[in-house]
């Protein structure tokens, strides 16, 4: 994978700080699984958290806190409700970054895509807001209507590619955009472009949108 578009520093800082909404955090984790460059930068943004932790004045714990924890050290470790890895098909693991493969459990072509018209299919991951987290599957030649963003918009390309005012985005690339940027992505090969999109506020469409915008309502 030849990744050329990466996260903004501010996004990695928010990820380290734990202040991203669930969907955006999922998307960041997915790109980190694929991108050693951003992994090293995320170690740096984590280290800011480590340095800040050292700076905090200590707060007293309950008197019995240490004993309470010591008493639990030998407890058998309960399985957290983490997704069982053996339920993730190897086909899904081969084409999706691990956090998404674990969440979806199926390869891209077996997902329950919903056709929403104009050459667009989608799957809403139904995570807690603010904002939306969707997989989009956009047919060749189709363009997302021209829009800007109410807040931050992260896009991770899972398959295929698109072109917009900023550049060309291929598998593994992320577009990390906000209200400073308006754009109109167009799928630019004869392959569907499949991407994960996570926002923290609705998109703002410009121009005469009418029914054209319909497939993207909710993003």
């Amino acid at each position: 994978m030849n990744i050329t578009h990466h996260f903004d520093d501010a996004t990695l800082m928010a990820y380290s700080a734990g202040s991203l909404p669930q969907g955006m955090a999922l998307l960041v984790a997915c790109h980190l699984h694929w991108c050693p460059h951003c992994r090293e930068r995320s170690e740096q943004t984590d280290a800011i958290g480590g340095a800040l932790l050292n700076q905090l004045a200590p707060t007293r714990l309950n008197d019995d806190a240490l004993n309470a924890v010591l008493a639990r050290l030998d407890e058998p470790e309960q399985e957290f409700a983490s997704v069982k890895h053996d339920t993730v098909s190897s086909a899904a693991a081969a084409e999706l970054p691990a956090p998404l493969a674990q969440m979806l459990g199926k390869p891209i072509d077996q997902l329950p895509w919903k056709r929403i018209g104009y050459g667009v299919r989608q799957l809403d991951l139904e995570l807690d807001g603010p904002g939306a987290t969707r997989l989009l599957r956009i047919s060749p030649g189709v363009s997302v209507p021209h829009h800007t963003h109410g807040g931050n918009e992260l896009t991770l390309i899972l398959r295929g590619s698109y072109n917009d005012e900023i550049g060309r985005f291929c598998m593994g690339d992320v577009a990390d955009l906000d209200d400073d940027v308006s754009h109109q992505p167009i799928v630019d090969t004869n392959e569907d472009c499949i991407c994960l999109i996570a926002t923290d506020a609705p998109l703002k469409f410009s121009g005469l949108m009418g029914r054209l915008v319909q497939p993207f309502i909710g993003l």
Partner: protein, 182 residues
Amino acid sequence: ERRKQVRDEWSACLTNLAETRDKSEFARLFGYFAPRVKSYILRLGMPDATAEEVTQEAMLLVWRKAHLFNRTKASASTWIFTLARNQSIDRMRREKMALYELPEEEPDPDHRDMGEHLVIEGRMKAAIDTLPENQAQVLHLSYYEGKSHSEIADQLGIPLGSVKSRLRLAFSKLKAHWGEDA
């Protein structure tokens, strides 16, 4: 320098804990980190009783996951910070969602070693102290209070873009200390 020796000791202590499973080592780590983790969790806005509980859970994870601590990747305080953060996120979401853990990697022989990490962290701390007030403020609101960029923008009455550019400026100053020779 004394401060560096102190942190050095914690990374060694954590590495040692993974090997020996010595509960007295754990008690030492607990004594230093648990009160700081609790301060962090309180700042995230959790009530005292919940913060106490989440702190104890985070420290229990330190024990259980000590074998995953990789001294070439992070210092003990950075590693414990990320555990405490994930534990807090988990609690705040009030749902059992898988934590998005990164793959375990073989230690990279070219990767900067632990000694250097400690130096970096010490320098980073010093650099944080010298950040201009408006950059330190967004850093604290983000890391200590878990506020999103939009929430910080609303609270300070500045555009989203300004919040992000202050964070970027802060980061570029802090990361300048990352690659330097000691």
